[in-house]
């Protein structure tokens, strides 16, 4: 077991997502990945894993305005199986 820190987080409007995946490679800590489920548009959408820094890169690259980005006052710790 180890701990991962999230300094930030995102609110994702998954129902609006068109599944373009532009948000995935710009997330430097690699904490976004595409879902296996699909939304009502029939698209896969991003899901968040622990370790978001609140850098806003995903928001900057999303053509469909699906992200809102927050920075925690105190970082959140997550227990992770290695």
């Amino acid at each position: 077991m180890t701990q991962i820190k999230s300094r930030g987080t995102v609110n994702i409007a998954t129902e609006r997502c068109k599944g373009c995946e532009l948000c995935i490679p710009v997330c430097k800590p690699e904490v976004l990945r595409m879902s296996t489920n699909r939304n009502k548009l029939g698209m896969r959408y991003p899901e968040l894993l622990p370790g978001c820094t609140g850098c806003t890169a995903c928001l900057l690259m999303c053509p469909d305005f699906c992200f809102e980005v927050y920075r925690y006052q105190e970082p959140i710790l997550h227990e992770v199986d290695v």
């Binding site: 180890t2 991962i4 999230s6 930030g8 987080t9 995102v10 609110n11 994702i12 409007a13 998954t14 609006r16 068109k18 599944g19 373009c20 995946e21 532009l22 995935i24 490679p25 710009v26 698209m43 899901e47 968040l48 894993l49 622990p50 609140g54 850098c55 806003t56 890169a57 928001l59 900057l60 690259m61 999303c62 053509p63 469909d64 305005f65 699906c66 992200f67 809102e68 980005v69 927050y70 920075r71 925690y72 006052q73 105190e74 959140i76 710790l77 997550h78 227990e79 992770v80 199986d81």
Partner: protein
Amino acid sequence: MSSGSDILQTDAPPSQPAEKLCAFKPDLLLSEDHHLCPGCGEPIAVRMMLEAIKELECSRRAVGVIGIGCYTALTGIIDTDLVQALHGRAPSVATGTKRMLPNGLVYTLQGDGDMVNEGLQEVIHSAARGENITCILLNNGVFGETGGHMTASTVVGQRTKNTIDGRDAKEHGQPILISEMLAQLSGTAYVARCGVFNASQTVHTKRILRKAFQTQLDGKGFSFVEILTMCPTGWFVPVPEGPDYLENVLGSVHKLGELKCE
């Protein structure tokens, strides 16, 4: 604590104390919903443009003159004053608008088909006259809205609907590099090319837009920003590969940088 293998909940604002760094949409956009394709670069560029206008505190002074292309569909949600121009005529309409409203921040929003094909002389003459306006070009190297055909800025080798084996210089000629062309004119005060193919270049695009608008606010003359944007639909490129294609294929010919800053 949560288990790290868990997918975190992201369907609402966080429950723990947190500062909102950035909202879904910029203040000058009325809605997040639009019908542009998955992976289109145009809404990304428009976000940067609207944030730049807001940061310069020009929301109520800004008047956009809009060309005709996919970006025209965003006029229903852009919250600045707007005029719809005929194809390619936006720089001339902006000239008249600025002369009538000298305190306005007058910008055009045009595509490469609109500006570099259909209305090329409009932008050249407006720039040559040194009109105190800001022209913004969304360059994706295709007539996106009408199906992805070659424009005057399509690069050699680029596949489009009517250059299916790639643009061939012998048959179709060489592309026009509009920023380089306009930078030569003594009427232009600021000319720069940028692209929205990654997050840092997108932030840089906003910086360039702010400089261009500031050029106009300072009364220095014609300012021009060319923004390279993804059009995976027009390019026959898988949607996630759009940014790399833009950087490597269009970006290697339409080179990024500030060409003129007076």
